[in-house]
């Protein structure tokens, strides 16, 4: 009993420790964003200072382009998520309810495309995009995000569909439902929690993406990742402003995650605790 309590206590301390370790960079980012550039640049860490909103003012100021970049981030993230789900649902439906000999291989193959380092395909994609005029283009970026997330979306939607007993789909079939009716009246309503968390994850991954955003866009279609990177300029590093910009970039997604965390946890553990 006592030793049990001790173990629990120790585990609690460990958990808090790990959580703090993970959270610390974000905390430091947050603190730095309220400092002046001089305070931000000190070698000795400084936890106590009089906070200033100067960096935020600069970051949001007219001409900084924050809203332009935020709009691009939101547009590409939402559009790629919607297109991704629209493509993944029929694919996952076929694989979950009408599997054949090659289904397992297909799934693994699809996810294995995620093993390829992005740099490995950068040159061909860049050349193709350049040739068809998709560089620095919101549509081009959306397509990249869709392609990037599609394997994960298909895999997740597939596993949620697999949690739906096949009998239910067959019952709908016998009851006279077409494939579309089965999908919209039976399968999608049952997989809704899973679809929601898949959508959220895709949204977050697209929002946070920086490699493709920075390489494939310049200004017109640039996202918040490009905006943050722009603070590392020829004139030097602007830690405080960069931190403020980063806080502004991650804030929407953290707020979204905060409000949907119950949905997320429910969706991600849907099959496990059923």
């Amino acid at each position: 009993m006592n030793s049990n309590r001790f173990t629990n206590g120790a585990l609690g301390v460990l958990a808090w420790g790990v959580a703090l370790l993970i959270f610390f960079p974000i905390l430091w980012l947050l603190l730095t964003s309220f400092k002046t550039e001089q305070q931000a640049f000190t070698v000795v860490p400084n936890f106590f200072f009089s906070p200033t909103l100067e960096s935020f003012k600069m970051a949001l100021a007219q001409g900084s382009g924050y809203w332009h970049y935020a709009w691009n981030s939101a547009l590409t993230a939402v559009a790629s998520t919607v297109i991704g789900l629209a493509l993944a649902v029929p694919a996952a439906y076929a694989m979950a309810f009408y599997p054949n000999k090659r289904t397992d291989f297909l799934l693994v193959w699809m996810v294995s495309t995620k093993f390829i380092p992005a740099v490995g395909v950068l040159i061909p994609i860049y050349l193709v995009y350049s040739a068809v005029g998709l560089l620095d283009n919101a549509l081009g970026l959306t397509l990249l995000f869709t392609a990037m997330n599609l394997p994960i979306i298909v895999w997740m939607v597939y596993s949620y569909f697999r949690d739906i007993p096949k009998d239910i789909v067959e019952a709908a079939d016998i009851d006279g439902a077409s494939i579309m009716q089965t999908l919209f009246k039976v399968v999608l309503p049952l997989a809704l929690p899973g679809l929601a968390s898949t959508g959220l994850l895709a949204l977050i991954l697209a929002w946070n993406e920086s490699f493709w955003s920075i390489t494939m866009t310049d200004h017109r279609a640039a996202t918040l990742a490009v905006y943050i990177a722009s603070f590392k300029s020829a004139e030097g590093l602007f830690w405080a402003k960069m931190s403020a910009a980063s806080v502004l970039a991650i804030a929407p997604i953290i707020v979204l995650g905060w409000f949907t965390q119950r949905q997320m946890v429910r969706g991600l553990t849907f099959g496990a605790v059923k």
Partner: protein, 377 residues
């Protein structure tokens, strides 16, 4: 209502599923139902009974042969156009819909008028005693209630054929007996051709007008319950139908007497007649436990052994004996006091004896009462 015909139906999963064997899951299945008949498909798991039902439903395509419902070949027709209703072992209710919505689903898809839908649901709910559950979701129901809803969903459709795939397996023993009777009553009322799949031979015997016994994808015998019991076509059917199951003893047949170490059984006249042409051969002698009784050591038919297991059930006492190196079970009257280790002599009437060919395991029929499907070389 319709006659269902299966002609040389076979199913081979070979090319469809990874790791599936290349042999047929169902092979050369032939059956013609009467209109409104209650047919039970029974057999051990993996015997192809569910596959056969799924082929009738259209959930699996038959790879050979024809399936006719009401005279129409439906082999290439999708399930929703076959006018069938199915009750699944898992009930397969739509979890996000209320009981009423579950039952209305198929009618709404057919765009029936709302009043008609409501009327049909009310009728079915009344028949099944689930009027008070109509607004509930499936997860708020007990197993028995879900089963009723699943039946209700099937009957509102007025289908030509009912298919029931082990519908009672998930219920507890007592409820299963109640629902068994209820389904039979329901069938009498609706008089719709029904296929019922089960692995439970008691369910098959009590519910089926005709029973199809299957094993390894092949039909072993199709007959009425009583004929299966009295004239099993082969050793498998003899052992599968009847509870407790039949005893089998390897015996040497010489001049109308089948005997082995510890037992001697003489054949009746009709059996002698068929065995006369075979002469001295090895056979399997089959005796049902309920046909054995205690007797004196000098009886004409006798089986001697020592008692291994005694199960006192009250009405009857089940005894297991070692006879030579074989086990024989017997159902004795409940008042008999039997001790472990006792040596007993059992006897049975010669007309209750079954004989099976030792090679093919087919029944060796009596001359005059040969069952129609009992193959006799």
């Amino acid at each position: 209502m319709a006659i269902v015909e299966l002609k040389n139906v076979a199913k081979n999963y070979g090319s469809q599923i990874k790791g599936a064997s290349s042999s047929n899951a169902v092979d050369d299945f032939n059956l013609v139902t009467r209109d409104g008949e209650f047919v039970v498909l029974v057999g051990p798991s993996g015997c192809g009974k569910s596959t056969t039902m799924r082929m009738i439903a259209g959930l699996e395509r038959n790879t050979e042969g024809e399936i006719l419902i009401g005279g129409r070949d439906v082999s290439q027709v999708p399930p929703k156009e076959r006018d069938i209703a199915m009750v699944f072992q898992s009930y397969a209710l739509y979890p996000h819909m209320s009981v009423a919505e579950n039952m209305a689903f198929s009618l709404r898809l057919k765009k029936r008028p709302a009043e008609e839908i409501k009327q049909k649901i009310d009728e079915a709910a009344q028949t099944l005693g689930i009027q008070h559950l109509l607004e509930r979701k499936p997860r708020e129901l007990s197993g028995g209630q879900r089963q009723r809803v699943a039946l209700g969903r099937a009957i509102v459709r007025d289908p030509q054929v009912f298919l029931m795939d082990e519908p009672l397996s998930n219920l507890d023993a007592k409820l299963r007996v109640d629902m068994r009777a209820e389904i039979v009553k329901l069938h009498k009322r609706l008089n719709v051709t029904t296929f019922y799949v089960t692995h439970d031979q008691v369910e098959a015997m009590t519910m089926g007008e005709r029973i199809v016994v299957m094993k390894d994808g092949k039909i072993q015998q199709i007959d009425t319950p009583i004929n299966l019991y009295e004239f099993p076509a082969n050793r498998f059917v003899a052992g599968f139908i009847g509870n407790p199951s039949m005893n089998f003893l390897p015996a040497k047949h010489v001049d109308g007497v089948a005997s082995g170490d510890g037992y001697r059984l003489s054949l009746d006249a009709a059996h002698r007649a068929t065995m006369a042409s075979r002469g001295a051969v090895d056979v399997w002698a089959g005796i049902r436990p309920e046909h054995l009784r205690l007797s004196d050591a000098d009886a004409t038919n006798r089986i001697e052994g020592t008692v291994d297991v005694v199960e006192t059930l009250g009405a009857v006492t089940m005894v297991q004996l070692s006879v030579g190196e074989h086990a024989v079970s017997a159902q004795l009257p409940g008042h008999r006091k039997v001790q472990l280790g006792d040596t007993l002599t059992l006897t049975c009437d010669s007309d209750k004896l079954h004989l099976f060919d030792s090679e093919s395991e087919l029944a060796i029929a009596r001359e005059s009462t040969a069952a129609p499907s009992a193959a006799e070389a």
